[in-house]
Symmetry: C2
Subunit: 230 residues, 2 copies
């Protein structure tokens, strides 16, 4: 769980200075890191004790986790860390295809030159990492997600950006942790990133959307075949 502090970059209506906000962040980290295993029960009193807090802020944090899909909740039975099924994973990717396609389209007409430059640099760095680590294993903060996050924010649509960054990406990380069958399509994915970046740099929203949707659909297809043949 480590120290929370302000790892979260300024972005949305998350933090606040409240205790509940810190608990939310710590619990999120614990779930995504696997410290809290999928299916594990989240006992309010236990968590409260372990943080030296009372149950009220813990409850609040847990309810927010539920809202974000990281825990499941049953009345009078409390919360458990979510265990997304393969079907849920696939469903998530369908929605992601739609939303990130739109994000890429908007980013193409909204991102400024400096932002595009940052994105290009990111892709360049990403290439280096792939050469060093060809397996394409998923890192803690994988550059893949960084790329997509940057585009989401670059769309200039705060609703879209928050949905993607706060709701979808954490949930996706949890899905990937559970269904490891799919391995990163390192080089291909990188090439697709490059082309998406080009389209955005040329302010070609239509193309950017098509490429982004293809990119995500390819990942989804890879997952689907990996699931079909164990």
């Amino acid at each position: 769980m480590l120290n929370a502090d302000e790892t979260e970059a300024a972005g949305d209506s998350l933090g606040g200075s409240g205790l509940a906000a810190r608990l939310y962040e710590d619990l999120t980290r614990a779930i995504l890191a696997g410290t809290l295993a999928p299916g594990e029960k989240l006992s309010e009193p236990a968590i409260a004790r372990s943080f030296g807090a009372s149950r009220a802020p813990v409850r609040e944090a847990i309810r927010r986790l539920q809202e974000r899909g990281l825990v499941t909740y049953a009345v009078n039975q409390g919360a458990r860390v979510a265990q997304p099924s393969a079907a849920e994973f696939l469903a998530l990717l369908d929605v992601r295809e739609a939303m990130e396609g739109m994000a890429a389209r908007l980013a193409a007409t909204h991102m400024e030159a400096s932002e595009v430059a940052t994105l290009e640099a990111l892709v360049a760095d990403h290439r280096g990492e792939i050469e060093r680590n060809p397996l394409g294993a998923y890192l803690q903060d994988d550059p893949e997600t960084d790329f997509h996050r940057r585009i989401a924010r670059g769309s200039g649509n705060p609703i879209l950006a928050d949905l993607l960054c706060e709701q979808f990406y954490p949930r996706l990380r949890l899905c990937r942790r559970l269904h490891r069958t799919v391995q990163g399509r390192g080089r291909e994915a990188w090439r697709e990133h490059l082309r998406i970046t080009e389209a955005i740099g040329q302010h070609d929203g239509e193309l950017a959307e098509i490429l982004m949707r293809r990119h995500i659909r390819a990942a989804r297809a890879a997952l689907q075949t990996a699931l079909a043949a164990p």
Copy 2:
């Protein structure tokens, strides 16, 4: 506010039997009906008293409303009914275009014949209502939303359906209440509904998506022009 009971059809992880769930539903209704005006403060003690409950479930309901975008929250300042700006309205419609486009695409390959028939019947009924009320004023439960809700559920993607039905449609209703400038494009919208339904009936997902996106983009354009020329 009327009686809450079980207006919500079975669909998602909403209700539960808890008091907080009932409060959430009642507050949602109050906000969408205008009983609680946009910008109005939501005082936890006041609401708790008016419902004969304590603050705990009220807090929970309010936090959920915040998560769904119906109220804004400031630390140590409490909640106020959201006042979506025109920009937010437009941003919401961009995301909606992406998500409903995907919903229509999926519905085309997922809806069964009986569901399609229901959809067709809905559109037929809708026509009657338009003839009777050509202004296309927004009704309490407007058939427009019913149509879109049915497609969202028909997508067979629970994540997408819940996002649309629970998060987007209420928020959209609030937006429409605030920015009345846009009037329903009754007949045109109906014709578009008809064509979308046809595409779904023919299991043409690609076409259904295109038509749905056009449909929503047209509504967005109408809003934009209405905003530009007051």
